[in-house]
């Protein structure tokens, strides 16, 4: 696995340990200890994935996440010690793709990072049509009537997963497995938050979605309601 990881965490021991583990996996690691310097380092190092602690001195992790998201769609994985729902949801809503709860196991983190980096390895030429959107899977673009829509890679993956089998209902668990790469049950809030983010970008009226439709009590499906 190749790629560059930006680790933003104020705990030096953990950062160093993360560095050791990630380098063992063949990744390039850049470290940043506070939120204020994170943006500059992000622009300078052009990482492929960001591991971001939520509690940071200077600018906090949520704000860093928001700023990175404003500039780029690269995968962001939050590291959080807060298990309370609100912390996780706020983190996800600020743009993080995934999160791992401290204390995590090394393999768990690597699995998450790998899942985020794996995408785009084998681009197969594929054109999908869902609603009035046309999706070019290899070219990684979504267009509505010729106008491109800007999606993060994760949102793109989510849309492609749904669009490949229109009208099939996906449970949140299946989506977690296909899009996030969770092998065991994960946190279904991940799916809810990202479906909402995706809708806010692709739906004409996010309050009355027509492309990603909720199937009550089951999950989601693509296609007209």
């Amino acid at each position: 696995m190749k790629g560059r990881v930006l680790v933003v965490d104020d705990d030096l021991a953990l950062s160093e340990m993360l560095g050791i583990v990630l380098r063992n996996e063949g990744l390039d690691v850049v470290h940043c200890a506070n939120g204020s310097a994170a943006m500059a380092l992000f622009r300078e190092s052009r990482p492929d994935i960001v591991l971001l602690d939520l509690m940071l001195p200077g600018i906090d992790g949520i704000e860093v996440c928001r700023r990175i998201r404003a500039e780029s769609g690269i995968p962001i994985v939050m590291l959080t010690a807060r298990t309370d729902t609100i912390d996780v949801v706020v983190g996800l809503e600020s743009g993080a793709d995934d999160y791992v709860l401290k204390p995590f196991k090394a393999q768990e983190l690597i699995a998450r990072v790998r899942a985020r980096l794996r995408r785009g390895d084998e681009p197969e030429p594929e054109q999908l049509q869902i609603g009035d959107l046309s999706i070019d899977v290899a070219g990684h673009t979504v267009k509505r009537q010729g106008k491109p829509l800007s999606l993060t890679p994760l949102e793109f993956d989510l849309l492609v997963a749904l669009a490949r089998k229109p009208r099939q209902v996906f449970t949140r668990e299946v989506l977690l497995e296909q899009v996030w790469g969770y092998r065991h049950a994960g946190d279904t809030r991940l799916v809810n938050v990202h479906v909402q983010r995706l809708r806010s970008k692709i739906e004409r009226d996010p309050e009355h979605p027509e492309i990603v439709v909720t199937v009550r009590g089951v999950g989601y499906r693509a296609g007209p309601p």
């Binding site: 705990d11 953990l14 340990m17 393999q107």
Partner: protein
């Protein structure tokens, strides 16, 4: 019987019709009667409710009732006094009048001298006529009749001034005159009045002697019409006065209770609002009277309550904040330790045996430390009241299935068989699946640990208000009194006992808090050497209290065929599930227990 003994009788042949007709007419009547009765009952219940719930109504009604009784008593006493006075007065004047008139009559008779019967009769008529016409306003009637003991020839007949005849004069009065001729005798009688009703009248009788005719009785009848009229006016006035007075009392009671009850009602409303969490609510407290004092002390109480609640809230917030901070502060270094431990653990084969073993211990203990930390945080979240339910309608069978999957590895390691007694139908309840799964995992893991390798029975049950899961083992059991202690934090039945599953000692305490959060029950039962049983009962709908658990806490007698053959109380009304004495094998196979499919449980 009756019908059959007279089969040919044409009369009795129609008899059977009667009861049929009676039956035909019966139900509507009965239904009506029942409707009326239930309406009456409802009205009575409503009245009782109003009576109980309104202090004001009670005060007003009792004041009016007491007032009415008092006015009635006073009124009837006064009326009696007035009536007595009036009648006595009239009787006195009647006596005086009668005495003088009698004397005048006697004089007329005496001066007449000897006469023949006819002229005597004429005289008697004249005298009676004279006596009976005193004036326009004072009417009196006169009766002159032969004395009872006058046995002489009836030369003078009975003379009447009106249609009030001798028969009206009571026999007692006549007897009294006969016994004591020298005195007047008085009695009150009723006589018919001109308008058809009767009026009381005073009868004054005395003796006169007629020349040649002997002893006669002279009766004056004084109708008490005027007195009766006066009394009627008095009575009417009294009744009007009584009504006015009772109404006035009611009005006064209404006003007074309004003055007192209104602030009390306001206080009740404010107190309700306070208790529902609106701590800013206060009573109005103007003036210096008792009500104002009530308001002031109420407000003082509310102030102090609010202050204390604020303090507690602050404390709880500080506590939560602290827990959260501890969580973050402990978790970050623990992450580093864990990753380092993982790294060392992975390369333990390169070390010499003691270091390799140390790496393994480090690896395992970090796991245990982490679960202990997680449990501690969970407990403090309960203590801070920060735990929230995340309910969704869930089939308990699914939750149990996942639990059994995750505990299968542990069961296999300990050689325990998990037997499941499923419930007949769906077992859906509004629960927080994460918490319920945690409870079940805890119970099952405990049963495996203390079940000494013998089968563990997991039973599901459902009734209309609750769902239940019981987890029973036939292991060491619990000593008397321990069934309550097991839920204590860090409690161990035997401190010397080796722990194998590495429980934190907080599992059952957390489980009980989880059950409580659902509004459910978690009960334990155990007997040394027999086994123990834990039963979780949860309401099917959040907020709807449980009435009874669908499962017994104490397992019924365990025979050789095992607990599988037990009948579920929740299935009582269901179609028969086949022969009760089922061999234990097939049932446990047909159960949804995925004992063999290892879920690769991580913990």
């Amino acid at each position: 019987m009756f019908k059959r003994s007279h089969p040919a009788d044409p009369v009795t042949a129609t008899r059977p019709q009667e009861p049929v007709e009676g039956v035909r007419f019966g139900p509507p009547l009965e239904r009506q009667w029942r409707a009326v009765r239930s309406a009456l009952q409802r009205a009575a219940r409503w009245l009782l409710h109003v009576w109980r719930s309104s202090l004001q109504l009670r005060v007003i009604v009792s004041t009016m009732l007491l007032g009415l009784i008092f006015v009635l008593m006073l009124g009837s006493y006064l009326y009696q006094r007035i009536a007595d006075g009036l009648v006595n007065d009239r009787v006195l004047t009647a006596r005086a009048e009668a005495a003088s008139q009698t004397r005048a009559a006697q004089l007329s008779f005496d001066s007449a001298g000897r006469m023949d019967a006819n002229s005597l009769t004429q005289l008697a008529f004249d005298v009676v006529g004279q006596l009976s016409s005193p004036g326009a306003d004072q009417s009196r009637e006169v009766i002159l009749t032969r004395a009872k003991n006058n046995t002489g020839p009836a030369s003078v007949p009975t003379v009447l001034s009106s249609d009030v005849g001798v028969s009206r004069v009571p026999a007692g009065l006549r007897a009294a005159i006969a016994a004591d001729p020298s005195h007047q005798q008085v009695q009150i009688i009723s006589i018919p009045s001109t308008d058809g009703t009767t009026v009381p009248a005073a009868v004054v009788g005395s003796r006169v002697s007629l020349p040649a005719a002997g002893q006669y009785e002279l009766y004056f009848v004084f109708p008490l019409e005027r007195e009766q009229q006066t009394l009627r006016v008095v009575a009417r006035t009294f009744i009007l006065g009584a009504i006015a007075l009772v109404l006035l009392l009611g009005g006064v009671a209404f006003v007074v209770t309004r003055i007192v009850v209104d602030p009390v009602r306001r206080a009740a409303i404010v107190a309700e609002r306070l208790s529902s969490g609106r701590l800013h609510e206060r009573m109005r407290a103007h003036g210096e009277d008792d009500i104002a004092r009530l308001g002031k002390s109420f407000n003082a109480m509310a102030d102090s309550l609010q202050k204390q609640i604020r303090q507690l809230e602050d404390l709880s917030r500080v506590q939560q904040r602290f827990v959260s901070d501890v969580s973050h502060e402990l978790r970050t270094p623990l992450t580093t330790i864990r990753m380092a431990g993982d790294l060392i653990h992975e390369s333990r084969h390169d070390f010499d045996p003691s270091v390799a073993r140390s790496a393994e211990l480090l690896y395992n203990e970090v796991d245990r430390f982490e679960s202990l930390l997680a449990d501690l945080l969970e407990i403090s979240r309960f203590d801070a009241g920060a735990a929230a339910l995340d309910v969704e309608a869930t089939d308990l069978r699914d939750t149990l299935g996942r639990t059994l999957e995750s505990t299968a590895a542990l069961a296999a390691r300990r050689g325990s068989r998990l037997e499941v007694v499923p419930c007949a139908g769906p077992c859906v309840a509004e629960i927080d699946p994460r918490r319920v799964e945690r409870i079940l995992r805890n119970l099952v893991a405990n049963a495996i640990e203390y079940g000494e390798g013998r089968p563990v029975t997991v039973q599901l049950g459902v009734n209309d208000k609750a769902v239940a899961v019981s987890v029973c083992d036939t292991g060491v059991g619990l000593r008397p009194g321990e069934a309550v202690l097991v839920f204590n934090r860090f409690w161990r039945s035997d401190p010397a006992r080796a722990r194998t599953t590495g429980g934190t000692g907080l599992g059952l305490a957390i489980s009980r808090e989880d059950a409580r959060l659902h509004g459910g029950w978690l009960h334990a039962w155990g007997e040394p050497g027999v086994g123990s049983c834990f039963r979780l009962t949860l309401p099917r709908q959040t907020g709807v209290p449980i009435e009874s658990s669908p499962l017994p806490l104490r397992p019924q007698e365990r025979s050789a065929s095992g607990p599988v053959s037990k009948s579920l109380p929740g299935q009582a009304g269901k179609p028969p599930p086949g022969p009760t004495a089922k061999p234990p094998g097939p049932t446990s196979e047909s159960s949804p227990s995925p004992v063999v499919t290892s879920g690769g449980a991580e913990r």
